[in-house]
Amino acid sequence: MKRIAELFRRIFHLRQRSEFGAGLAEEMQHHLALKTYENIREGMSEKEARYAAQREFGNVTLLNEDSRSEWNFRWVEHFLQDVRYGVRMLRKSPGFTAVAVLTLALGIGANTAIFSLVNGVLLRPLPFAQPGRLVAITDVFPQGAFVAMPSRLKSMDVGAYLDGAEFNLTGRGEASRLYGTSVSADFFSVLGARPAMGRVFVAGEDHPGQDNVVILSHELWQKEFGSDPNLIGQSVSLDGTDRQIVGVMPPDFQFPSQKTQLWVPLHLDPRNVGSYWGGGFMPIIGRLRDGVTLVQAHSELRAALPQFRVLFPWKMPDALWSGASVTSLQEKITGDVQTKLYVLLGAICLVLLIACANVANLLLSRGVTRQREMAVRAALGADRRRILQQLLTESGLLATCGAALGILFAINGLKWLKVILPADTPRLGSITIDWRVLAFTASVALSTGIISGLAPALYAAKTNLTESLTKGGQRSGSMGSSHRMRSALAVAEITFAFILVIGAGLLVKSLWELFRVNPGFQTESIITARVTPNSSFCAVPARCQNFYDELTDRVRATPGVNDAALVNVLPLDGRIDAFAADVEDHPRNPSDPAPVLFETLITPNYLHVMSIPLLRGRALAPADYAPDAVSVALVTASTAEKYWPKQNPIGKHVRRTFVKDWTTIVGVVGDVHEENLAERFPDFIDGAIYAPYGVHQASGRPRPKDLTLVLRVSNNHMNYAQTLQQIVAGLNPEAPVSEVETLRGVVTKSASEPRSTVLLFAVFAALALTLAAIGIYGVISYSVTQRRPEIGMRMALGAQWQDIVRMVVGHGARLALIGIAIGIAVAFALTRLMKSLLFGVSATDPITFIAVSVLLILVAVAACYIPARRAMRVDPMVALRHD
């Protein structure tokens, strides 16, 4: 309290400083007057008396000042004074200021942009009520198990969702395709999300007969429904079924991802045993009840899992859910991108450090030329701390300007980031520059000011007074220590740049390796498109079959199209169609998990269109497509090798679990990458078969209604979207055509995640390299200027221009070599951290390390080019006469 009272007194005083100052002067004058009076009384003359009084009292102005400093914040005054002076100094050398501010702005701006990414994705709490109480179960559960959860889990309220529900929106102009998520009725209330309009789902709406409702995303409401304020309660046709629009979510609600355009309730129907217990397994989210900890919820879940397992109407393997745990929802959502983001943040910090080193170098050279100024200030009574404070204020000013400009860079950089990052990056929409980012930028600017300013300031404040004042001023003092410091900074820059370029090099090589992977099919001259009739339309199988037959014929007859086929799941498009299988020669204990086979259903020309090679046996024949045909299939080479090694797979059998009839293998085809270029399949898939599209009774195979059309075309650049649209609309106006793309585009898109990382890293590395080159240039060219007399002397003594160039370039190369040597050691330790981002390349790939070393030496030598030429042109006479 006392301190606060004193603070207030001080603040009050700061405001009325002059008034008090005047009072103080008056008080002292009064004292002098009394003293003088007394002196006169003791017999002095008036003049003598005043003089004696003053002598005894001391310097009134000084004391006035001294007394006043008890009252006010002296440092505030000094600080403002330093700022004013700093601004004047920076304005006096606009070239220096521009370079320094720009360098720092690049560093700080890039840091701000990447940090806002980290902040938006990883740090910012989820935009839901009490986000800290939200959890997720790290496994997937069938509907039956989810329904049993509330009665057995007392520690949390649970909700389920299944991403990837697609719908045809019809009856509103051209049919279009929407991407949605099926959710349990309490999903929104568990998240604590409120609608912008209408309501969220209520209990019971996930049961059959009550589930014809839908909630729209804000974006869909704007795009498809023209932001109609009276939309709630209206009906909309999704996949041929009318659903009532009950709510519209706010724009920031993007769960599970920003791709989600609408939410529909789950269809929880215990009578449909197949989908209730064997259908889409769902991720589960939960909200911890009051007073429950994450650990408690986790142990409760672990104890309850065996009870859920025995609920299945058939025996499930013991290993089911063996890894299930309860984690925070935020961690679950962002777990995949954590490494990548932190590696990027680390990389951009290095760029900033290089920028700092560059500015420090600039300040150092300026410090040398300003030595005289510092000496004068010291002579006038400024102590070392005061000079240090002034110089740090100057570098702080530079950093502040850099930060202001940097924020502008960051705003634009963020727009670019959002474009190049894959659209399914979690929480992409929530990346903005908020107060946390600004606080981060401010602290970065502050530390930047100190880091880049401290070494030069310490150096300048150390100035030897007499030497500086007596000698020439410009080039005096402890030149050696300044030179060492500048060289050390240049070496540090090279080291940091080396590490970054190594990182970028490894990533570029990974990407190159990735695109060198043979996906197992031909990617050129192929156009793909998704065709999706309504469920009601395909409820009559013959109608669906006719539609696709007719479609294939018409497309094939289109000019420019050489061949066409249909497939249920296109490789690399992110979809999965798989089933649990019995495999011949592999009897299975019921407590073991069944093999899961990826199933590609194809029309007759598919393998031919895609150029997938037939390795053994025969391809699917037209007879195999007859409704009464025997069920046959092809397997991929790796599947055959896995289940029947060194045997002839032709004639072996597989079948769906719970289906009586076996399917006979008639051929072996080449392997295809279904998941991405790095992995053929997700890890839960054990093999792959190709079966004819159309046969479904005997094999127990449900007939998918959505297929992808693949066309081999002679002109890749033609726009087929409209042609296809017209053909499909002519056959079935309610079937939209979506995802029209070249197969090459599909392949490229599948690698958009690594590509974005590589692109960012490459940009950082280029930035780092440029800054480091500027750094070396600065050091070398400064040293050339310093050594001009020496160079002139050497030339006068007969040195050739080659010798001079060798001397200058050798200096730069030496710095580079030291930097590279340190860089190699550090990079060896650091690149391990990015192992998970690499593909087909070891974290210590020797080729990359050698190539990058050579590159850096070349850059260093190139940076010496201009100073070397300047050194060459030194006129011995002029240089020698100069001093």
Partner: protein, 116 residues
């Protein structure tokens, strides 16, 4: 820097001046101005303690900041205006504490210097 110069000129132990000011104001019921305080200390100590006049006013300011004394403007005997200081309650308390502390130190010093 400037502050240091002032400190050097003082012949008193650091901190003693403030105590002397407080004691002076305590002994005199009437508020006193700076000159009066300096004169009083000089007279009472029989000219031994000479208050460095320059450091008196900073000390008065310090005490005022701490709320130990309060000052008010009044016309003085010369006809000029002067600030008259008096002890506050907090100042009185502080004085008791400081005197106690000072006496302890003094006693200790005397024990050391006195012959055994």
């Amino acid at each position: 820097m400037v502050k240091n110069i002032a400190a050097h000129k003082s012949d008193l132990l650091p901190g003693t001046l403030e105590m002397l000011i407080l004691k002076t104001l305590d002994r005199n019921d009437e508020p006193m101005h700076g000159y009066g305080i300096a004169l009083y200390i000089k007279q009472i100590s029989r000219d031994v303690l000479r208050v460095e006049e320059g450091s008196l006013y900073p000390a008065l300011q310090r005490l005022a900041i701490k709320g130990l004394i309060s000052g008010a403007w009044r016309d003085s005997e010369t006809g000029r205006r002067a600030r008259y200081y008096k002890l506050t309650a907090a100042g009185r308390k502080q004085l008791i504490e400081e005197v106690a502390g000072f006496e302890k130190v003094l006693e200790a010093i005397l024990r050391v210097v006195q012959p055994a």
